[in-house]
Amino acid sequence: MALKIVKGSIDRMFDKNLQDLVRGIRNHKEDEAKYISTCIDEIKQELKQDNIAVKANAVCKLTYLQMLGYDVSWAAFNIVEVMSSSKFTYKRIGYLAASQCFHEGTDVIMLTTNQIRKDLSSPNQYDTGVALTGLSCFVTPDLARDLANDIMTLMSHTKPYIRKKAVLIMYKVFLKYPESLRPAFPRLKEKLEDPDPGVQSAAVNVICELARRNPKNYLSLAPLFFKLMTSSTNNWVLIKIIKLFGALTPLEPRLGKKLIEPLTNLIHSTSAMSLLYECVNTVIAVLISLSSGMPNHSASIQLCVQKLRILIEDSDQNLKYLGLLAMSKILKTHPKSVQSHKDLILQCLDDKDESIRLRALDLLYGMVSKKNLMEIVKKLMLHVDKAEGTTYRDELLTKIIDICSQSNYQYITNFEWYISILVELTRLEGTRHGHLIASQMLDVAIRVKAIRAFAVAQMAMLLDNAHLLTGNMQRNGICEVLYAAAWICGEFSEHLEDPNQTLEAMLRPKVATLPGHIQAVYVQNAAKLFATVLRKHEGATDSQAAQETSQLLVERLPLFVQSANLEVQERASCILQLVKYIQKLQQKDVEVAEEVSALFAGELNPVAPKAQKKVPVPEGLDLDAWINEPPSESESEDEKPKAVFAKEETKHSRPRHTEVDEKELARRREARKQEQANNPFYIKSSPSSQKVYQDAPGVEHIPVVQIDLSVPLKVPGMPMSDQYLKLEEERRQKEKAEKKKKEKKKKREKHGKGKKHDSGPESEEDITPAHHVDIVTEEMPENALPSDDDDKDPNDPHKALDIDLDKPLADTEKLPVRTHRSEPLKSPGEDGDVESVPQEPKKRSSKEKKEKKKDKDKDRKKSKEEKKKKKKHKHDAEDEPAELPAEEPVKSEETNEVATPPTSTSAEASDLDFWLSSTPVAPTAKEVAAPAPAPAPAPETSLAAAPDSEADEPKDAEPEEVKCSKHKKKKQKKEKEKEEKKEKKKKRHHHHHHHSDGGEDSVQNGTMEEEEPLPPMSNYCLLAENSYIKMVYDIQGNLQDGSQVVVSVIFENKSDSFLKSMEFNVLDSLNSKLQRPEGAGPHDGLVVPFQLPPGVSNEARFIFSVQSIVMPQKLKGTLTFIVKSEDSSTHEKLDFKLHFTCTSYLITTPCYSDAYAKLLESGDLKSSSLRLEGVNMPFHHLLARICFHHHFSVVERIDSCASMYSRSIQGHHVCLLVKTADQTVSIDAKCDEPSLLGNVLDEIKQTFSQC
C-alpha cells in the first residue's frame, strides 16, 4: 500500500500540471490540436489512477481544455470523484470543473446529491461554500428538490459567509423547484434584516430578481424595502431596491407618490453616478405610473430631464449612453419635455459611437411630429448614405420605416413623399431589409387608396429598372422589393399608364434569375396585366395590339414553364395554356376581355396580423372534444363537429347564394351591422363598398376624400424625396395664408379625418395632409376579443414562480422534510382555496419526494421533533411555564379567527394599504420609519417603526380585521417564542384540515416541523448548562446506517473568558457507544474541534452506534474544558445526561394506503393498544401532535378515525389506528417489535399527559 502511494506520488511528479499544459499549448502553436489530443490521452491515463491528487490535477487540466472548447463531459464521473475528496484543495477543483461542464443533461449529477448534502453540512465553512457555489451553476430540479431543505437551514448558519451564499442560491432553487418558494419565503424575508450587510444584500438581490418577473406578489414587501432604502448606505443594495421599486410602482401608484420624495433627495445628494442614474430611472417609472394628479409632477420631470441632459453632455460615453436610454423612457409619456432637447439628440446622431447613435435613433422615434417628420427623415437619409457598415445602415433603414409607419402612419402627411423615400431606400446596397421595404410598399399601396396611381407609376419604374436592383445585388437582398412592385403593378393595373411596357418588363429573360417566389408573382401578375391590356384594346377595337400582347406572352412564358421552381412552373404553364386559348378566341374575333378580367376581379382587404388568433370560438364548440370518437363510437355523432369546419363551407356556400333571397340577405347584413356598431370590441373596418358608411353615420369612420391635387402626380424619372420637402414647405405657407379664411370649414374637415386628428404632440392643427387619404384599417374577425396577452412566452421559467406569497401556507406546502412558515394565521374559511391551488402541482412531486427525501431528511426531522418532545417530557422547570402562557393566546387567537373568517390574506393587503395611505407623502424619507405623525392609531406604522409596542394597546375602535392583522404582525416580529408556538399549532391545524379533504397527500404530513426563523439554538433542547457554558443537543437517526444516530451539540460560551481544549466524553453503555476515532481507547473523550471566544457558539457532531433501538436510553457524559481569562486559566467540567427516546429512532415515512393494508394483512405484526382519557382537543390536533412529536404520518383518515405509519431506522414498521370518541382516544398499534411499540406508546401517552 505504502509503495503504491509512493509510486503514485512519483508518477505525479512527472505528470503535467495546469501550468505545464498551458506552456505546452503555447509552445505548440502550429499543431495545437494534435498536442491537445495527446494531452487528453495523458489525462485519460491519469484519471484511471487511484491517486486522487493525480485525478484532481487531471480534472484541473480538463477545466482548462473545456474553456478552449473541448467537450469534457466524458470525464463527468471523475469530476464527481474529485468533488467527493475530503481535501478542500481537490474538492474545489472538482466543483469548479462541475460548475463549468455539468448541466441538466449530465446523468452523473444524480450521484452527487448525497455528496453535496454532506459538503453542505460540513463543519468547514469553505467546503460548504464551495459546494454552494458549484451547486449554483448546475442545480437541477431534482437537486433543488432534494437539497432545498438543507440549503434553507444554511440560511440561518452562524457564519455570514455561508448565509449569504445560501440566500443567493435559493433563487436558483426556486427556479428549478417552484414549490419551495412559499415555504422558504418567510425566512428569505427575514434575511432582509440580517445584521451582516453581505447577507442582506444577497436577500435583496434574490427578492429583486423574483419580484422583477412577478412584481405583484411582492407588493406587500414595499414597506420593508422602503425602510431599507431609507436606512441602507450600501449603494449596491440601494440600486437593487430602487430598481425593484421601479418594477412595483406601475402596480401601485400610491407607492410612487411615497417614493418621489426620498428619491428626489437621493438624486440631489448622491455622488455615485450609478445610484443617481437608477434613481432617475425609477422616478421616471413613478411618473409614468402616475398618469396625473401630482402637483409637483412636472418639477420631477424637469429634474430628471435636467439630470439626464447632464449625463448626455458628459464626455464619458457610458453616461451619454445611459442618459439617452433613460431619456427614451421619459419620451413615452412626456414627449414634450424630451422634445425640447432635440438639438442634443440630433447631435448624438453624429456621434462616432454606434451604440450612442442607435440610442439616439430610438429617441427620434418618439420625437417626430407631422411637422418635422420629413426633416428628420431627410437627415437620416443622409446618414444612410454616409454610413459604412451594413448593420448600422440596416438599423437606420428599419428606423426610418418604423418612424414613418408608427401608429398607422400617423405622422405622414404626404404619402407620395413616403413612397419616394421607400423607392430611394431600394438603392441601398446589400441591405437585408428588402422584404421590409417591400411590405411597406404593399401596405401603403393597399391601404392608402389615393396613392395607388402614384405608387403604381413608381413601381412600374422599378420594374423597368429592375436590372439596377438585381444587377449587383445579392439575390435575397433588395430584390425583394420587386415582389412588391410586381404585385402592385398587377393588382392595380388599371392605374398604369402603359401596361404593355410594364408587361414587357416583367417578362424579360433576366427575370428568370430572380428567386422563385418573386418569379411566381411576376408570372401571376403578368396575367393580370394581360387582362388589363385586353380590356383596354378591345374597347378601342384595336385587335391587333391585343393579339400582339398575347403573342408576347406565348413567346415568353415557356421560359418560366421550364423553371425549376414548382410554383413558377405551375403558374406559368397554367397561364400559358390560358393565353393560348385566348389567342385562339381572339383569332375568331371573340370578345374575351370581360371574362379574362373576371378571373382577377374583386379587391383584397388587409387583414390584421393577429386576426386569425382572435376569431372567437363559437359557442358550443369545444376544441378539446374528440372529433372522431375512439373507434368504437358510432359515426353519427361525429358529424356535428366536422360540419363546422368542412362541410358547411363547401356545401353550403354555393347553393346558399342562390337560395337565400335578396331580402333575407339584406336583413342579415343589417343585423350584423347593427351588432358591429354596438360592439365596442369590433374594430370597424372600411370595407370596399362605401355604402356601409352611409348606413352607419354615427360610427367614427374615415371618409374617402378626393385627392387634392396640389402636388403634381407625375414625377418623371426616379423620384427625389427632397423635392417633396420643398413642396411641403410651400404648401404649408400657402395653407397658413388660406387658413384664416377657411378656418371654420377646415375644422369640419379635420373632424372627418378621424385618426390623424388626435395625434401629433406639436401644434398639429396647422398641418393638414397633402392628400386626404383613406388609411384602410386592417380587418379583424367579428367579435374579436381585445386580448393582448398573446406575447407571453409560455416557456419562461419565471412563470412558475408567479406564486402568491401572501397567502398563508397550506399544509401541502412544505419542503421535503421540514417546513417553515411565518404567515401562521389562516381563517378556516380560506382553507379550501388555499389548498386547492398549490395542491395540484404538489401531488405529482409529493410522491416522488416521499421516496427520495425520506432518507435525508428523516434525521433532522426526527431530532427536532424529539427535541420538542423532550422539552415537554423533561422536567424543565423553566421551559414549562414559559410555554403555557404562550399557548394561551394562540388558542384565543384561533377562536377569534373562527369568529371573523374574512381576514388573513386580505389582511396583508390592508396592511399595505395602510402603509401607503397612513403617511401621506412623507415629508422626509425618515419620516416613514418613524411613527406616523397622524393621530390615526395606525397599526401598521407602529409595526414598521416601533416594534416593541405591545400587542394589546388600546385599539378597540379599530375594525376587527385590522386588529387581527396587527396582532399577527407583531407576533411575528417580536414574540418569536410565542409565534413559534402559535405556528406549531397552526400547522397542526392546517395539517388537519388538509387531511380531511384529501387523504392522498397525507404522506406529507409527517414533515410538519418547526422551521421557524429562530436562532438556531432554540431548535435544540437543553443538555446541560453552568455559568460558563450551555449545551443544547439534537439527535438524528441515520437512515444509511441503521445502527447510528448523530447527536449535534451546540456549545455556547456564556462567560467572558475564552474556552478551549473542550473534550466531550460519554460513558458508553453496552447498547450505545460513542464512536471514537481509530486508536482511541473506549474511555477517551472526543476533542471538540474548536475553541470558543466569549459569547460565541458553535456546533459539533458526535456519532453514536446503537445496537438495539427497542428501549429508550440515557447516557451519562462529561464535558471538560479550560477556561482561560486574562490572567488565569482553570479546568472545569460539566456533567450531562443524553436521553435517547424510542421515538427518536423513528423516521417519518410516508406510506400508501394499499401498502399499508398489505402490511397489516401480512400478520407479522404484534399488536398493543392504549387508551387516553380526557383528551380535550380536536381530533386533527391530536393527529398533528402524534405526527409532530412521534414522527408518524397519516395514511388515511375517515371521520374520527385515522391510520398512521412510521418506521424505525432499523426498518421496524409501526402502525397506529387512532380513534376518538367523547374525549377518549383509543390507539391500537401494531409493530413487528413489541417492546419498541410499548415504549413508543408510553412516550405518546406521556406527550398527551402533558397537555
Binding site: F14, L132, R212, N235, N318
Partner: protein, 205 residues
C-alpha cells in the same frame, strides 16, 4: 442576472469563461467569437455597453465590458443589473485579481495602479482566477462587492489549500527542476526511496 463572464485577449483567445446558463462547448466558442467580434472593433473611447449579440440573450441582454491592455473583460447581463454598477464590479474584480496575485500584503493600498491585469496571471492561473470570481459572482448574481471581504475570503481559502499541501504538493520548482533535467527516460520504479525524501509534504491518500 449575469448570464456570462468572458475574459479573452486582443486576439479573441479565451482566458476565462464562465456561463451561468448552459451552452454546449461549441456554442460557447461561437459566443466567444461573436462577442470578440463585436467588442474588438470598438474604439477604446466609445461607451462600454453593447446591445447583446444574437447568440446569447436577446433584447433584454447587454454586454458590458472593459478593455485592459491585452484583455477584454465582458459581462453579459440582463436589465436587472445596473450598467454602471457592473462596470464598477469589473474594475473591482480586476483589482482583486491583481491584489491576490501580486500584493497580498498591502490590501489597504488598493489603488488605481492595479487597474491593469497581467495576462500571464490569467493564462497560467485560470483556476485561481475562477476561485476569486466565485467570491464576487455566484450563480449569476453578485455575491459580494466589498473588496476587503472578498480578498480576505480568497486568502483564507488559499491558506487552507496551502495547509493541505496544495495541488502540487511538492514545491513546484523542485518538480519542474526534475522535469527539466532532460533525462530522456527516467526509470520510474528505481530509487523510490530517494525521490520520496525530496517530496516532503505529500499527504497520504
Amino acid at each position: 442576472m449575469i448570464k456570462a463572464i468572458l475574459i479573452f485577449n486582443n486576439h479573441g483567445k479565451p482566458r476565462l469563461i464562465r456561463f451561468y446558463q448552459y451552452f454546449a462547448e461549441d456554442m460557447q466558442q461561437q459566443i466567444i467569437r461573436e462577442t470578440f467580434h463585436l467588442v474588438s472593433k470598438r474604439d477604446d473611447n466609445v461607451c462600454n455597453f453593447l446591445e447583446g449579440g444574437s447568440l446569447i440573450g436577446g433584447s433584454d441582454y447587454k454586454l458590458i465590458y472593459r478593455h485592459y491592455a491585452t484583455l477584454y473583460f465582458v459581462f453579459c447581463v440582463d436589465s436587472s443589473e445596473s450598467e454602471l454598477g457592473i462596470l464598477d464590479l469589473i474594475q473591482v474584480s480586476v483589482i482583486i485579481v491583481n491584489v491576490c496575485f501580486h500584493v497580498q500584503v498591502f490590501v489597504e493600498t488598493l489603488d488605481k495602479c492595479f487597474e491593469n491585469v497581467c495576462e500571464l496571471d490569467l493564462i497560467f492561473h485560470m483556476d485561481k482566477v475562477h476561485y476569486i470570481l466565485q467570491e464576487v459572482v455566484m450563480g449569476g448574481m453578485v455575491l459580494e462587492t466589498n473588496m476587503n471581504e472578498i480578498v480576505a475570503q480568497v486568502e483564507l481559502q488559499n491558506r487552507m489549500e496551502k495547509s493541505e499541501g496544495g495541488l502540487s504538493a511538492a514545491p513546484a520548482r523542485a518538480v519542474s527542476a526534475v522535469k527539466n533535467m532532460n533525462l530522456p527516460e527516467i526509470p520510474r520504479n528505481i530509487n523510490i526511496g530517494d525521490i520520496n525524501i525530496k517530496v516532503p509534504s505529500l499527504s497520504p491518500f
